[in-house]
């Protein structure tokens, strides 16, 4: 921690939040709000005089509320930066000054009640997300009485009670009588591995953390009788099995079974655990002085903002999704963004440090390159067909198109560095004068025609966005989820690329069913391009209805990269819908749409492909 605080190339922003991120790989612009601390962190010597005179006492978060801190406080003795902070929510008030004692006591005069937030704009090439996790709150598991019995604590609270720097200086006591317990029971998998409450996954660290806790108690109090109630002890890492063995040799009783219920003796405040010992089938009742709930690790509730800002997807467990679970485990699907630590999945300190090293290496590869190549998939405006309407400027999620001005004859212009290639402008352009490099209109028409060249009644044309739905299809494949073979996918970078006429063209060529599929709104890799997809599809549904074409023949689905199951389910449902489409209605649709077809722009039919062959 101290190394990070004094490193010449690390600038620390504590009490700070990332408010906005824009840009792209190698060239991100970041807005950071450094929240006011009211104490000059460079000048503060952490002498503590301010704290002595502060009259306000509130529960100390660092000590899990077992002791109190003042309104002006240092989070913990080894804090970095080593500076006090004024908690204005609990301060008696500075405007007008209600107390002012801390400022009077500060010899360095580093307390400033009029200080304000500082907003900094940063330019970075890479971003590492290391926002971590949070312990599971066991309140909902009422059978363990966490909120009813003071002697039932969580594993995080245990850490503070056993720590020499904790509220009782490491003299482990139980809350009701402040005496060292004679026996402690640990209950494993609290909030983990449950399909009903908490989370379905294994939280990775709780078994070994408990093993460690039993050894700490044994070292401090060799006579203490400790028991661990578990489903399975997972001691798979280097040195872990040794530690588990040591714990058993130290006399810790490992009982296979999770208590169904905890009762408290109203007089002694001792706790009774009823458990089915699954190794012998017997129902047992254990009396202990204290219970520690080994709580699992869950995604942070406050990391949602960061997730959305960087358009990071999440896996079904709520942790962020990596670009590839095995081959790119620390890369985000968004280029230039990497993961370290528990934001990706629950892990212990060693694994967090290992992953942090990997994330740093990945970021450094990018930074060392000095330059970055952007995929050649940006949009091109064919000015000769542009009517200055400005729709492209309005729909671009990245504000990458500069405004048009008809009077001055200024066409809209694409800022290539800012364009991410979603194709929303190309799909929304009213004169069809915008195309995407490498994802051209003509190429999509060719694909649609290829798919429907033979036996179109049997085919479902599905437009799937690269990041989510197409990847969801890959996920279904990797998981070997079976579905009917009638669907043919066409990959678009974003569902926002799917032009109304692509859909109509599929119907025109005899497709019984068309699917447009994109990311969930919160996952859209192009900020909010997916909202244009939705609006467009809704408009097409109306149009189809007016034409006498059943709108159900066009489906819209949001499928994430992690939702292989959903992908397969959607494909099965589509096939059912397809079977209900009659040849007569397809014939009617084809006939109508061919009659209504507008002439295709010249540039699409008369391409000079010869030029490519030099």
């Amino acid at each position: 921690m101290m190394d990070a605080g004094r490193h010449p190339r690390i600038e620390l922003f504590t009490n700070s939040q990332v408010e906005n991120v824009s840009g792209f790989v190698g060239n991100f612009n970041v807005t950071v709000r450094k929240k006011v601390r009211y104490v000059d962190e460079d000048a503060c010597t952490a002498c503590g005089e301010c704290e002595v005179v502060c009259p306000v006492a509130v529960p100390d978060e660092y000590q899990e509320g077992f002791s109190s801190r003042k309104a002006i406080y240092i989070p913990f003795p080894q804090a970095v930066p080593s500076s006090y902070v004024l908690d204005m929510e609990n301060c008696l008030g500075t405007n007008p000054i209600a107390c002012g004692k801390c400022a009077d006591a500060c010899e360095k005069e580093c307390i400033d009640y009029d200080a304000v937030d500082e907003v900094r704009e940063l330019e970075v090439g890479a971003i590492v997300v290391a926002t971590g996790m949070q312990p599971y709150d066991p309140t909902e598991m009422d059978e363990y009485g966490y909120t009813r019995f003071a002697n039932v604590i969580t594993s995080m609270e245990f850490e503070r009670l056993i720590c020499a720097g904790g509220p009782v200086e490491g003299h482990f006591i139980r809350p009701t009588d402040r005496k060292t317990p004679k026996s402690v029971a640990f209950i494993q998998c609290v909030g983990s591995r449950s399909l009903n409450r908490g989370v379905p996954y294994c939280s990775n660290i709780c078994c070994m953390n408990t093993v460690k806790d039993t050894l700490l108690l044994h070292d401090h109090y060799p006579e203490m009788q400790n028991k661990v109630f578990y489903m399975d002890i997972r001691s798979f890492g280097k040195g872990f099995e040794d530690l588990y063995r040591r714990s058993k040799e130290a006399g810790v009783q490992y009982i296979r079974g999770l208590p169904g219920d905890i009762e408290e003796d109203p007089k002694t405040k001792n706790l009774y655990l009823t458990v089915e010992n699954t190794l012998n089938g017997g129902v047992e009742r254990h009396e202990v002085d204290m219970v520690v709930l080994a709580v699992g690790l869950v995604p942070r509730t406050d990391s949602e903002q960061i997730r959305q800002m960087l358009t990071l997807s999440q896996t079904s467990d709520g942790f962020v999704m990596e670009a590839h679970p095995k081959l790119q485990p620390v890369d985000a699907p968004t280029k230039g963004v990497y993961f370290a630590g528990c934001v990706e999945s629950p892990k212990d300190i060693k694994d967090s440090v290992t992953q942090a090293g990997a994330a740093a290496a990945r970021a450094n590869i990018l930074l060392n390159d000095r330059e970055v190549r952007i995929e050649a998939i940006t949009s091109i405006i064919h000015e000769e067909e542009c009517n200055y309407c400005g729709r492209c400027v309005r729909v671009c999620p990245f504000h990458a198109i500069t405004p048009a001005n008809k009077k001055q004859g200024v066409f809209p212009k694409v800022v290539e560095a800012a364009c991410s290639g979603c194709g929303t402008c190309a799909a929304e352009c009213v004169t069809d004068c915008i195309d995407m490099r490498h994802f051209e209109d003509a190429q999509y028409y060719a694909q649609i025609e290829a798919i429907l060249a033979e036996d179109p009644m049997q085919k479902i044309v599905a437009f799937a966005c690269n990041w989510c739905s197409y990847a969801g299809g890959d996920n279904a494949g990797t998981s070997r989820l079976q579905y009917p073979a009638n669907v043919r996918l066409i990959r678009t970078m974003c569902s926002g690329r799917v032009d109304e006429d692509f859909i109509l063209h599929a119907f025109r060529k005899g497709a019984p069913m068309v699917l447009v599929s994109g990311c969930h709104f919160s996952d859209c890799h192009y900020i909010d391009a997916v909202t244009w997809t939705q609006q467009r599809v809704e408009k097409i549904w109306d149009k189809l209805e007016k034409k006498g074409i059943r709108p159900e023949r066009l489906q819209l689905e949001w499928i994430s990269a992690a939702e292989g199951q959903k992908f397969a389910k959607v494909m099965r449902e589509l096939e059912k819908l397809r079977q209900a489409v009659t040849e007569e209605e397809v014939a009617f649709t084809v006939d109508l749409l061919i009659r209504e077809q507008k002439p295709t722009p010249k540039r699409r039919t008369n391409r000079d492909t010869l030029a490519l062959l030099n």
């Binding site: 690390i10 190698g26 090439g125 440090v353 970021a363 990018l366 062959l613």
Partner: protein, 202 residues
Amino acid sequence: MNSNGADQNIRIGVFVCDCGMNIAGVVDTRTVAEFAETLPNVVAVVRNRYTCAEPGQNEIKRAIREHRLNRVVVASCSPKIHEHTFRICVAEAGLNRYLMEMANIREHCSWVHQGDKTAATAKAMDLVRSAVFRATLLQPQTEPVFPVTPATLVIGGGVAGIQTALDTADAGHQVYLVEKSPSIGGIMAAIDKTYPTMDCSI
């Protein structure tokens, strides 16, 4: 096919991958390859056991030279896995990397239609035709190049964030470490001893 793709000078090579039995176990790749030969502008079709392996990639390079291919279609796995591989492969043979197209006949076909080999083979043929039609209209592209700002933002000052910041800074780059609470340290700083070495967390 509309007239714009039927240019006689387009020379497409199609490479159908067995992926061991991953594809060939379900999709009749011989039939797919024979079908590919009938498609417009296709001048060479090669079947491979593993197209992504070095012999498979060498086949692509050899065919590009021998048949003067100016478009390549690889019918194998998801482009999410090997688009990069094959783009580099065709570039090494002198072709613009954007003149390569993939047909995903594994994740979107053989792996998900294991019970119906005929339908899976028919689908694979459609996907190959779709890729060939698209490839016909592909154009060489030049990728825009931008400078990289040599700095890293690390969001979160727990053990992972601190270690990332130190490693990146030690490698010579500027780091901005942003932490929500008033001190770095995160949950690690609240833990007493850590397993398996039983030493202090801070």
